[in-house]
């Protein structure tokens, strides 16, 4: 069963096409990396896959479920890490994670587990607003993987992380996690290295869709011109 199956996915914003004609298949355990300039539709694509936006045309199948009819069935198996950490600034890391745990039906013990995995246990009792951006990102990652999702949707996940932290979270959201992943990236070098499938978006349309092995760095750079 394919993890992702898109056929002619389109989403418009008024009269403008935010996404159009996006078709691809992603197998379980594979990584799709999406490149493209700002405004190309990367975040829109991610949000559609996360069931936050409905597709306006075409068919979308995530983990075997059709969107939007069966969005509710698949929500619990998707983890999203977007630009926003989705954490309440006045609550502590632990309180935030406990809240999300309750929403996903996850036991409290798991909260401690992920806090340990991102090495934030020591500062878990401090409000989010007192933490540095790197730490907030780590807690956000913890939130994204809290419910052990099958599909990870990551929007520039390594932003704000130092090399040590990047190494730390690799087993959670990196290649070491061995989950199906869709990553939006601005880094041609690193992005290409971890991709199985590459999608290049330009003004909402797929300008490039190929196995990573067949794509060169220059082709990706072309997207941004």
């Amino acid at each position: 069963m394919a993890a992702l199956q898109l056929e002619g996915l389109a989403r418009h914003y008024g009269e403008r096409e935010a996404l159009s004609g996006v078709s691809l298949t992603l197998k379980e355990g594979q990584t799709l990396v999406v490149f493209g300039p700002n405004g190309a539709g990367k975040s829109t694509l991610l949000r559609v896959l996360a069931t936050l936006l409905r597709p306006h045309a075409g068919s979308v199948s995530v983990l075997g479920r059709r969107l939007p009819q069966e969005s509710w069935a698949v929500r619990g198996r998707i983890g999203l890490l977007g630009h926003e950490p989705l954490l309440y600034r006045e609550l502590t890391a632990r309180e935030n994670l406990r809240f999300h745990a309750r929403l996903h039906g996850v036991a409290a013990a798991r909260v401690e587990e992920v806090l340990e995995l991102v090495r934030m246990r020591g500062r878990a009792a401090e409000p989010i607003r007192t933490l540095s951006r790197g730490m907030v990102q780590r807690v956000a990652i913890a939130r994204a993987v809290l419910h052990d999702p099958q599909l990870l949707l990551l929007d520039e996940p390594r932003a704000n992380l130092d090399p040590a932290a990047i190494e730390l979270v690799d087993p959670l959201i990196g290649a070491g996690s061995r989950r199906t992943r869709v990553i939006c990236s601005h880094d041609p070098g690193g992005g290409l290295a971890e991709a199985d499938l590459v999608l290049g978006l330009r003004a909402g349309r797929p300008a490039l869709l190929r196995a990573a092995a067949e794509v060169t760095g220059t082709e990706i750079a072309e997207l941004y011109r």
């Binding site: 996360a50 936050l52 509710w72 069935a73 929500r75 198996r77 006045e90 999300h100 309750r102």
Partner: protein
């Protein structure tokens, strides 16, 4: 813990299928979790309730000077009390979803495999709680500063009438707050939308409270007004429940 609750929002009737894959907490648990978070944030920031309470007391002072009256009773008293409560409620309504809108709380909730009406219930219950605390401050203040006749026996009945009105304010307030928060002019649209919708509650509430606050021959609230309040609460509670999902989804 794993009661299955498909949410209605992104699904039209007839397309709904069986169970969600994996865990899906029941609505009651979700409402409790949301309410807990809501009250926790409020306790930490103390944003809404102290402001609403302070506002109501200040308004009583303004009324004293503006009306040039030392004490009021009957219709006038009922009117002042209800207007003040409505305006204070609007303050709370304005802040209700702001934290969620600004700190990505909507996405966090929308990603969870839960019934979306749970947010409506939790927020309405939170607003209701704020209103009840507000009244615990405002009614004694009113009795102290402006009210002529002493409250005494009428107090429990008055609080009952207030609670009945609060249900409607909570339902409408939550719906309007959700509607206004994702627009550009959220602080303006909230009050503009809420006040006309709350007029019938003001009518029912003030007319019902008026006999309780009468100077001579205090009496009981007329059943007609209690019925009006109750009916209004019911209708708009149902409407809010039916429409809320459409505000959250995209």
């Amino acid at each position: 813990m794993s009661t299955v609750v498909p949410d209605r929002s992104s699904v039209s009737a007839g397309e709904r299928t069986g169970a969600s894959d994996g865990r899906a907490p029941g609505t009651f648990a979700v409402v409790r979790a949301l309410l807990r978070k809501e009250l926790l944030v409020e306790l930490r920031t103390l944003e809404s309730v102290p402001a609403m309470s302070l506002f109501s007391v200040t308004t009583f002072v303004v009324f004293h000077f503006a009306l040039n009256r030392n004490s009021v009773d009957g219709d006038l008293a009922a009117g002042i009390l209800w207007v003040t409560l409505l305006l204070a409620a609007i303050l709370g309504v304005n802040r209700l979803f702001v934290a969620d809108a600004e700190e990505g709380g909507f996405d966090g909730f929308l990603l969870a495999p839960v019934d979306r009406s749970a947010m409506l219930l939790a927020k309405a219950l939170a607003l209701l709680a704020y209103l009840l605390v507000l009244e615990l401050v405002a009614v004694p203040a009113f009795g102290l500063l402006l009210l002529g006749p002493s409250l005494g026996q009428a107090l429990p009945v008055l609080l009952g009438v207030l609670a009945l009105g609060d249900l409607g304010i909570a339902a409408i307030g939550t719906l309007v707050a959700a509607l206004a928060v994702r627009t550009r002019a959220r602080d303006l649209l909230g009050p503009l939308l809420a006040l006309p919708l709350l007029v019938p509650i003001a009518i029912g509430g003030a007319r019902a409270s008026s006999p309780l606050l009468a100077l001579t021959h205090p009496g009981a609230p007329a059943a007609r007004w209690l019925l009006t309040l109750g009916l209004y609460d019911l209708v708009f509670g149902l409407i809010a429940y039916a429409l809320f999902d459409f505000l959250l989804e995209d």
